[in-house]
Each structure stands twice: as structure tokens, then as C-alpha cells.
Assembly symmetry: C2
DNA sequence: GCAGTTGATGACAACGATGACATGACTCGA
DNA sequence: TCGAGTCATGTCATCGTTGTCATCAACTGC
């Protein structure tokens, strides 16, 4: 039945016997409309199953009920969880989500943002490839919320976890099990987040009076093959590490299979970021619960507050820190010196 | 420097000393423009760093370089992989991706589609909650590609795997290991895909002369707690299953931890759909490699073919089947009768 | 009973781009 | 040499909506 093109505001106005402007007013909840007129127009809208045209609206009004989300790669598990939550929260208030992946390429990222601005998105949620990723881009006062990493932009806010503190906590946890040779495996150091985790790691070592060993610090784990290679090298050292701190989920997803393949699940490990199956592996993986859902939710609500109330008043400071904590599951509690066959099962 | 509002086509035209229409022609690669005029306009565009306004464009031209993607839930690993590939392919040709999750609610799904149509998306990629999910919706001849499940819509195509065949293959694989009591765990039977997998399972049993046991067929595994409960019940049966066929990834992600917690990793298992870590578990999980990337890629290219060439000529039939195969990893090769301590390590 | 206020409504232009059609300068073949 | 056909370009209206300003009736208070 419902065929071809939908009804326009003009049709609604004609059907209700009012001017198009009055219909527009009803549509926009303008108080200056008589009650019965409003009723008539509303009825006509229902009858004609009218739906406003977003393009015309955004062209004229200069804004669109759309939020642009720029992430590193939507295929990443962490990112998917993040976007899911953002989409869920924004859908509640009738906003649509545009997603695009930057693949960490600065130019691509900037092009995406420009495009979103051009599209009159109402706001932006960005997982920036670098602190100054958006520097100098014309943002038209768009509210911007950075996620997972801090970013610079006029009137922006960032939703992050305390990378430094949590990385330190993870490392200290391993130290507490008696480990002194702890490897750090991470992605390259272009993202601030990763840098902060490195610093946390180093500080934990320093506090424990352990001299960092450059051979154990490997910030080159960009893909799975690379992780395998690095791990091979680490295990082949004269003094190999007895524990590993994995600085992000993608790396963890490489380390775990690699350890299993090498048959070296005796090496302790703490992973920054939870992941599917982490609790079911043998040993189960001790993680820093860096929850994408929590971060996404906070980011979306932070943006929403600025979208809806049109209050430039931003809630919370420029940097909002979401809590996270360490979940002991086994891999992080493997002691440095394997117990000398005291008892196989203590319990 | 670059401030506030961007340049409009009028500005470009003025700067190049031509009419706005000529500038428009250059923008749209209309051949009817003199070479030097074109050069001048292009130069002006660069100088003013002109970017076309998508809203105005889509309003006038009736189409937008945007593809609407409707999925069940963007947070799902399978879905995330799918969307990532779609986005990647479409970005190559300058299309933006709008995503929305239906959470399998029909009304929501239909509302999303209507909205996308209203937005003048150039095309739609839909993971439909049911075969007739889009029935009767005004689609304006939009090219629609259904993914992972077949769907009905005028001039649509579907990109799927052969669920029936693959489920049968998985089940037969378990039968070949000597199993006769094979449980089937799946999501509820609202989606065709799931139904086809059930049929494949049943056919494999029938072919092997095994009578299906209703107590082993559990199509109620909608979330993780439910999976745990069902598994408990199954294992508590008088004649418990010796093998499990998991009909989708979400269910697998529940079964694996449940088996580990119950200490019953001696139960054989084949999972429909690969997932992170599947190869690193003990035992590693034998899966049907139902690859989201492959499906996403094919779906995106199928849609692209119709977007770009504006040829209504659709390539491929209404249903495009993407190949998939069984990957033996261990869990699916656990024999029905555990070997009677012949030798611990054969090699 | 009248200026001034308020409230409801409408006419019109504009947002930025493109489609239909028109124009004027060529070229070409008979 | 001229009409037809091509080519490059321009004029104008239009997509569906909203902002600005005008209109006009009813109501206020003195």
C-alpha cells in the first residue's frame, strides 16, 4: 500500500487546511499554536504517515540528529563494545550513529571528521589516533567527546581510564608474585594511552627497585605474526621473562595463542583489557577490566547532555575518568618460582 | 585559520568567474565542460578548500552517498567483523556507513529501515530478524542486500552460507567420531538461519539412523545464564550427551566457559562460527568457519556493483552463497568412547 | 471606545545544490 | 552560404524545511 515517496509537510498542511508554516510549528513543538489547530495537524500527520525529511531539515536548520563516531577499527572487539553502547544510548533519544574507521591514519581520520562536520552531525565521539588529531579542523563548535584517549579540541571532553595507574597496578601485581623479569608487550607508542601504560609499568618497576631491561620492553606488536615473533625472541633470551604484561587487547589476543602453541602457559600474564574466553582459558587470564561498555555509556551520556539541553554547560570536567580494576583469574597469580613439587593441589 | 562555515559552490563559482551551474558540472564530472574552465574551477575549489554539502546534495538529487546497515547488535563479534569489512569496502568508493542495531525487535528494525530510506541512503545492507522483516515497507527501489540470512524485498539479493549443509557437516563430523548422543544448542528458532541449522542437524542424524532425542535439542539459549542452566540440565540427564553442536557464536561463547567451569571438557564440541581464542583453548574448538569478513566483503561488493554502475543489472542471483568449511582443532575430534589409556602421547 | 498588547497564523525567502531548458558560438556537410 | 547539429555555458525553478517579518483578530486597561 504505502508506495513511493512519503508525504511532505506541504501535504500535511493542505490536508489539515493550514499553512505549511503552521504545520512546521506543530512539528517543532512551537507553543504559539492553538490547541485545536495542533490537534488537527497532528491528526493529518498520522493519517498521511508523515515523516520529516532529515536532509531538508538539516539543510535549513543546520543540524542533524546524527552523531559521528570515529574509531580506530570497528572490527576490534573493544571498539565494537564501545560503539554498541554508544549506539544504544543515543538511539534512546532518537539519534542516529555514523561510524567510520580511521585505521590510525591521521589523514583519513581528519577527512572523516571533516566529512562529519560537513554533514552537520550534532556531535562527535572520537577515539583519536593522537592528542592533536583534530587540531585546526573547523569544527563549528560541535560538541566533541574523546573516548579512551585524551584529545584536544575546543570545548571537548575526554572519557578515559587511568592508564598509568592501572598499568602500574598490573605490573605491581606481578611483582608481588615474585616476578622480577616482566616483559611489556604493546602496540607502537604513537597513542598516548599506550605511552601512559608504559610509564605505569616503568614506575612499578622503579618502586620495586627493579632496573628496566630494554630487551623486555617490546612496543612493536602491531599484528599477530609480529606478536608470535616477539614472543619467540623473548623466550629465547638468556634470561627470559617469567611474566608478561600485555598492554592492550589486540596484543593479548596474539600472546595467548602464542603461549599455548609454544607450550609455555607457565609464564605469568596480566592483560590490559578483558576479552571473550579470557576466563575459560587454562590458565584463565588475569585482566584489567577496561570495559568498553562502561566507557561507551559514559561518553554517550556526556555527549547527550550537551546535545539535548543545548546547555553549553558541560557536566564534568574536561577529563572524565572511568573506574576499572584488576580481576584475578589465575594467569597473573602464577608465582615466579614454580613451587617445588610441594603439593600438587594445595586446596 | 580555517574558520566557521565552509565555502559554498556559489563562492567557488564566483572565485573562478563562472556560473554556479558550471561549477556544479565540474563537481559532478559532467563531460560538457571545457578543459581550461574545468581546471580553473578545480583550482578554485582547492583554494577555498571547498567541500560539497551532503544535505543539500541529497535533498536536491534525492540520493546520498550513505549506506544504511541494519544488524542485530553491533556489539556481537560476528557482526562487528561484518560491519568492519562493509565499512572498509564502501569507504574505498567514498560511501559513509550508518549503523543501527535492531536487537531483533521487528518494530525497531522497521523503524530503522524507514528512517534510512527517509534519509535517502543509497542502499541498505540488512541482517533481517525474519524473512519478511521489510515486507510492505516503502523502499523507493533502494538496492538492498541481506546478509547472513535470506530476506524478501523487491530487487534484493542475499549473501549467506549454506546453513543446512554446514550444520549437517558439523553433526556428521561428530557422528563420525562415534557420537550418538549429540546435543544441539541454539538460539530461539525465530531466525531462518537457526532453523536451517536445526534441519541440517536432524538430517545428519537421520542419515546415520539415529533417532533425534528432544531432550537434547535446546533452542532456548538466549543468553549466558540460560546457556549455563541448559548445559547443567543436559549433563545431569540419565543418558547425557557426549557431544555438543553449538549453532552460533553467541551460544558457543557461553558453552565454552560453562564446560570449563563444570570440568567437562571431555565433551566433544563443534561450533558454528569461529571466535577469538577458539584455537587456544584446551581443547581447541573445532568450528565451522563462518567468516564475517568474507560475507561482509561479498555483501558490500554486491551492493557497490549496483550503486556505482547504476546498472540495475544485478550481478549474481538473488541468493549468493559464500563458502565455509570445517576446521578441525580438537574439540570436535574427541571420540565417543575415551581411549582406554592406551598411550598417553601417541607421537 | 481606543491605543497597545498578545496570540495565532501566513507569505516569503533562504539553506546549497542540481535538473530542465535556453542561449549563443561554433563546426560541418550539401 | 545556410540550416542542422554540437558544445560550453547560463537562467530559473526546485528539493522540504525553517527563520524573519507581516498580518489580523481578540483582548486588555483606562
Amino acid at each position: 500500500m504505502t508506495s513511493s515517496k512519503g508525504a511532505t509537510l506541504r501535504d500535511v498542511a493542505a490536508h489539515a487546511g493550514v499553512s505549511i508554516k503552521t504545520a512546521s510549528r506543530v512539528l517543532n513543538d512551537d507553543p504559539r499554536v492553538a490547541t485545536d489547530t495542533r490537534a488537527a495537524v497532528t491528526a493529518s500527520m498520522v493519517t498521511l504517515s508523515y515523516q520529516p525529511d532529515p536532509a531538508a531539515r538539516s539543510l535549513r536548520a543546520g543540524r542533524d540528529r546524527t552523531v559521528g563516531v570515529v574509531v580506530e577499527s570497528i572490527g576490534d572487539v573493544f571498539v565494537a563494545g564501545l560503539v554498541a553502547q554508544i549506539e544504544r544510548v543515543l538511539a534512546e533519544v532518537g539519534y542516529q550513529v555514523l561510524v567510520a574507521s580511521s585505521y590510525r591514519e591521521r589523514d583519513r581520520e581528519r577527512a572523516i571528521v571533516s566529512n562529519f562536520v560537513q554533514r552537520r552531525c550534532a556531535g562527535l565521539i572520537v577515539m583519536p589516533s593522537s592528542h592533536d588529531a583534530l587540531q585546526g579542523l573547523p569544527l563549528r563548535d560541535l560538541p566533541v567527546v574523546f573516548v579512551d584517549r585524551e584529545g584536544d579540541a575546543p570545548s571537548s571532553q575526554s572519557v578515559v581510564v587511568n592508564d598509568h595507574k592501572l598499568a602500574k597496578e598490573a605490573t605491581s601485581h606481578l611483582i608481588a608474585q615474585g616476578h622480577r623479569r616482566i616483559a611489556l608487550m604493546s602496540d607502537v607508542l604513537v597513542v598516548d594511552t599506550t605511552r601512559h601504560r608504559h610509564e605505569g609499568y616503568l614506575e612499578a618497576l622503579r618502586d620495586a627497585g627493579i632496573t628496566p631491561d630494554d630487551r623486555l620492553i617490546r612496543a612493536e606488536c602491531i599484528d599477530e605474526p609480529r606478536v608470535f615473533a616477539v614472543l619467540d625472541e623473548l623466550l629465547a633470551l638468556d634470561a627470559p621473562p617469567t611474566a608478561i604484561f600485555s598492554a592492550n587487547t589486540r596484543v593479548s589476543l596474539g600472546i595467548v595463542p602464542a603461549l599455548h602453541v609454544a607450550g609455555r602457559t607457565d609464564v605469568a600474564m596480566v592483560a590490559f583489557g578483558d576479552f571473550p574466553m579470557a576466563a575459560s582459558l587454562k590458565p584463565a587470564i588475569t585482566v584489567i577490566d577496561h570495559s568498553p561498555a562502561r566507557i561507551g555509556e559514559v561518553a554517550a551520556r556526556t555527549l547527550m547532555a550537551r546535545l539535548i539541553e543545548s546547555s553549553d554547560q558541560r557536566q564534568g570536567g574536561p577529563v572524565i575518568t572511568v573506574p576499572a580494576h584488576l580481576i584475578e583469574r589465575g594467569s597473573g597469580e602464577i608465582p615466579a618460582e614454580p613451587p617445588r613439587r610441594k603439593s600438587r593441589n594445595r586446596r
